[in-house]
Amino acid sequence: MASDRIFGLVALFVALAYIASATQIQTSFLADPVGPRAFPILVGAVAALSALAMIVRPDPDPAWPTGRTWVSLVVAVLVLVGYAYTLKPLGFIVPTAIAAGVLSYQLSPRPVAAAVTGVALSVGLFVLFRYALGLGLIPLPKGLF
């Protein structure tokens, strides 16, 4: 009940904000009868109605993860965000090994196996992408050698 209501409320606010920003879209002098605003406003309105329907008639709550699993999920997201930022400056091998290792550890908490998985995946995928598929990846940070 609560989950659907909360999500519905968030969706409603996003939809209203979306409609509000759609009314601010600039039109050019070459406007067609519909213009660039109408369709986004229509979509926002349907979304707002659907969100209202979710608030009025919510479904039963799903089983949300509990404490420790939330921690794992947040760690996974943070690792991926960190990976996204470091992939370019630090080259492929090191960030990939760390990110893959941490993810592997989140799935099965055995440090040694996770570390081996991380390194093996990183090197294996690098060889695959660089030499078999010919993608231009940088293995290590520039200026190290």
């Binding site: 070459l30 979304a47 659907s50 479904d59 996204a84 998985t117 598929l133």
Partner: protein, 501 residues
């Protein structure tokens, strides 16, 4: 004979050694992708698109590779259904109902071979159906103007939303999320930015590949972390594999019927392979009656959904190629591939780029025979691959997704966006909000708006123009019925849950 000449052209494209090799690789990868639990056809194809794109394959080759993956995944889905009681992809859910009991009774090999043959029959007949029907539909599609296209897009959202979800409001909201995202970026008509919030990264809009990989693949990783990679590796042992001629003979009528039903289910926009396998299982169950023993591990219960879902996979290509409206989640991903390759699906595809269409159809025919060979005599190899533990597989899938998206644009912003879509996908799926309409919205949003605006330009702002032709009225009626009917049918057409032991 038009078709024979076209087929000859198709085979001349498909039988070049390089294309043939791509088809074989695609079949192999596809079967693996289908077989691994948690890596369905939509995920698999989505992850591979950016990589295909950076490999610099031409349009036909890329399309051949990806549709081979698509067909392969449909074949592969049955392996984990039968051996692990985990559907490798959603349409394979129905196969667990009789496949797993059959495997537990010591007939795992029989079930695998039988389902492989059923998949072959379904996919082959559907490919032939595609070959005959698609050019005809393409001719009808010439009659479609902007108002018809607008109604057609609406129909796709309505039927997909109606079928894919248990709650119409959630399906509508999902479609709106997708459509809303599609509006971001520079407006085609006026050339001015819309809804970008002043962010330069958003000027080009949000790349649908980023959204697809995020919503499907990254969200899947979060689900696996939540379940701690449980639910893999335990299963039934596969003994000797023999060909159960008797079962194959007895289930031949079932396979043929199921292929027909599945193909039609696949053509309906938005319905797709899940509906195909569900309908065929239900049809065969009611034909067999209570004495048929469905659910206890009978051969017909394995053959019907497999023929059905593979036929639906072929059928789903018909609206995708002729009208540009995908019939399922995976064909939505294939549509994304076409758009990335700068091919506009639709009736003109058949006249302007016959080598693409017929090369594709010829490759599908070839891929089917390759898949039969891979999935019957070589099935043991794929069973071995199922043993890859989740804690190696999932990080691998994540890294491949990252490299794929990164190699497209080389920007960290797209990677962050992809993680964001992963989080969104996780929450949406938790709340039972379908994610396929979101994808469809992102893919079709621009076209849908353009159709509406062109229609209004033609009619000078008269809204009644949208309902002015018999075709568009028919589509509007079908759209409304497709959205409302499932509300009443839900009690009747309840999806059976997987068997527990």
């Amino acid at each position: 004979m038009d078709i024979l000449a076209n087929l000859a052209l198709g085979f001349s494209v498909a039988l070049t050694p390089y294309t043939l090799m791509l088809a074989v690789i695609g079949c192999f990868l596809g079967t693996i992708i289908g077989a691994l639990p948690g890596l369905g056809p939509s995920n698999g194809v989505a992850i591979l698109i950016p990589i295909t794109f950076t490999l610099g394959l031409d349009a036909t080759q890329a399309l051949v590779l990806m549709t081979a993956v698509y067909y392969g995944a449909m074949y592969g889905g049955r392996i984990s259904s039968i051996l692990l009681n985990i559907p490798g992809d959603e349409p394979a859910l129905m196969t667990t109902l009789d496949g797993y009991p059959m495997a537990k009774a010591g007939r795992a090999g029989d079930a695998l071979v039988l389902s492989g043959v059923a998949s072959f029959v379904g996919a082959l007949l559907a490919t032939i159906g595609l070959m005959l029907l698609a050019p005809m539909l393409a001719r009808v599609a010439y009659l479609f103007g902007p108002s018809e296209y607008f109604a057609l897009y609406l129909l796709a959202f309505c039927t997909l939303g109606g079928m894919a979800s248990n709650n119409q409001a959630k399906a509508a909201l999902a479609s709106c999320i997708g459509l809303g995202i599609a509006m971001i970026g520079v407006d085609n008509n006026s050339g001015l930015p819309r809804l970008t919030g002043g962010n330069l990264h958003l000027m080009d809009g949000i790349d649908f590949l980023v959204a697809i990989v995020g919503l499907f693949a990254i969200a899947e990783v979060f689900f696996f972390i939540e379940s701690h990679g449980k639910g893999s590796s335990i299963g039934v042992k596969l003994e000797k594999v023999r060909i159960p001629w008797k079962d194959i003979r007895e289930t031949t009528p079932t396979m043929l019927r199921s292929s027909g039903v599945g193909f039609i289910a696949g053509i309906l926009p938005g319905a797709g392979a899940s509906l195909g396998s569900f309908l065929t299982y239900m049809v065969e169950k009611s034909i067999a009656g209570p004495k048929g023993g469905f659910g206890t591990g009978v051969a017909k219960g394995v053959a019907a959904p497999e023929a059905g879902n593979n036929a639906a996979a072929g059928g789903a290509l018909v609206p995708m190629l002729t009208l540009g409206v995908p019939g399922s989640g995976t064909t939505a991903v294939l549509l994304a591939l076409l758009m990335t390759l700068n091919i506009t699906p639709g009736p003109t595809l058949f006249t302007d780029r016959p080598e693409v269409v017929w090369g594709l159809i010829a490759s599908l025919l070839i891929a089917n025979f390759v898949l039969l060979l891979m999935n019957v005599p070589m099935v043991k190899i794929f069973v071995k691959i199922l043993m890859v533990p989740a804690w190696v597989l999932l990080p691998g899938v994540t890294m491949i997704s990252f490299v794929g998206i990164y190699s497209l644009s080389g920007s960290y912003f797209d990677l962050l966006l992809m993680i964001g879509f992963g989080g969104l996908g996780y929450i949406l799926r938790k709340l039972d909000i379908p994610t396929v309409p979101v994808i469809l919205g992102i893919l079709l949003g621009g076209n849908m708006e353009n159709a509406l605006r062109r229609a209004m330009v033609l009619s000078d702002g008269d809204m009644t123009y949208l309902f002015s032709s018999p075709i568009s009225i028919g589509l509007w009626v079908a759209a409304i019925a497709g959205f409302i009917a499932p509300m009443f049918l839900r009690g009747v057409l309840r999806k059976p849950q997987a068997v527990t032991d």
